[in-house]
């Protein structure tokens, strides 16, 4: 079976490499894409949408439908992870570990036992032993705000530089995941609860599709942001630039929430109890 798979993989690979010989050379000015498609966008993007970064304009405006369904795919990935992995009604854990914050002593509590519920002296730690590391926790605490600031910058500056909703959303989600890894899953879940996270996930897609539907209601095509000019109080060309920005925010929210959602489900086996 392994041999058959290897033969199939090598044959398919050889076929693909053989087929690349028909491609135009890298950066070939005479290729069909460079003679018809690219010049259209290079020449017209700035005057039609007033967005200097052509990639952003093509992604969110000219091919807006494509990006909308990409966002929907991300959303579906989060929902599928939730449906497949989430386990409700968790059984009582056999034993749980607590750390006495002041002395650093670890306490093992067997089933049925309890620590004083109103006491702030104990914090729960994962059963799989994790050493208390002040350096990692402090460094992550310092770093995370800057990572999040960079994520917001990437979303907001997508018009002028590489980046946009997807990348910025992933960076924002990664900062929360870093928080969950450096502290523990329960601490991160107290900041962004499961329900909020799922709602944010759907809100992002809704912002994108809602912007498109608003354009439809205002009398132009779906996702034709020029229709937003009357609401935003700007000329139609600037409205397209602003419309791209609104949509990018939606993508950013959806992607951020989905990344956190998938991580929470995968790392805790769907129990939302103990993470990585």
């Amino acid at each position: 079976m392994k041999i058959t798979g290897l033969i199939i993989a090598i044959l398919a690979g050889a076929l693909l490499i053989y087929a690349t010989a028909d491609f135009p050379g890298w950066g070939d000015a005479a290729s069909p894409a460079s003679t018809h498609v690219s010049p259209r966008y290079i020449e017209k993007t700035m005057e039609e949408t007033s967005v200097p970064n052509m990639v952003t304009a093509v992604l969110a405006d000219y091919r807006g439908f494509d990006t909308m369904f990409e966002t929907t795919v991300i959303f579906s990935a989060g929902v599928v992870c939730f449906i497949l992995l989430r386990v409700f009604g968790s059984e009582e854990p056999k034993e749980s570990l607590y750390r006495h914050v002041l002395t650093g002593v670890t306490i093992r509590v067997r089933a049925g036992g309890e620590i004083p519920p109103d006491s702030d002296d104990f914090e729960r730690i994962d059963v799989m032993w994790t050493p208390f590391d002040l350096i990692i926790k402090t460094m992550c605490r310092i770093l995370i705000p800057f990572i999040q600031l960079f994520g917001l910058y990437v979303i907001a500056h997508g018009h002028h530089s590489p980046g946009g909703g997807f990348q910025g959303g992933v960076i924002l989600g990664a900062s929360i995941i870093l928080f969950a890894i450096s502290h523990d899953l329960r601490t991160a879940l107290r900041r962004i609860r499961e329900r909020i996270d799922a709602l944010l996930c759907a809100t992002g897609v809704f912002i994108y599709a809602g912007t498109g539907a608003l354009c439809l209601l205002l009398g132009l095509n779906f996702l034709d942001y020029a229709a937003l000019a009357s609401i935003l109080g700007v000329d139609p060309i600037t409205a397209r630039s602003h419309g791209i920005f609104i949509v990018e925010i939606g993508v950013g929210i959806a992607v951020m929430a989905t990344m956190i959602w998938i991580y929470n489900n995968v790392s805790s086996r769907g129990k939302y109890d103990e993470g990585l």
């Binding site: 392994k2 890298w26 950066g27 970064n53 990639v55 952003t56 990437v154 590489p162 980046g163 946009g164 997807f166 990348q167 992933v170 960076i171 989600g173 990664a174 995941i177 890894i181 990344m259 998938i262 991580y263 995968v266 790392s267 805790s268 086996r269 990585l276």
Partner: protein
């Protein structure tokens, strides 16, 4: 495009790609796959596709490696085959 850089990165891409499927340790495979993604990111930026390189760096080399590591941590670290 400088062909020496291109060749070096492409060699590393192939090595990381083959390593990912050959390694028995799944955590090692996840890390090698992250390395593969990062080399692809370098390749995209060498070819001038900076937006794609950015996505590859954040999604491929960043978050998906964390997802793989979490999945390995919650399942098993050795492959059966």
């Amino acid at each position: 495009m400088i062909w020496q850089i291109d060749l070096a990165i492409l060699t590393l891409v192939v090595i990381a790609g083959i390593g990912t499927i050959m390694v028995k340790d799944l955590l090692g495979a996840a890390i090698l796959f992250g390395a593969y993604s990062f080399m692809m990111c370098l390749l995209w930026s060498v070819m001038g596709a900076v937006d794609v390189a950015f996505t590859e760096a954040s999604v491929g080399a960043g978050v998906s490696t964390v997802f793989f590591a979490a999945a390995v941590f919650r399942t098993t670290r050795r492959t059966k085959d």
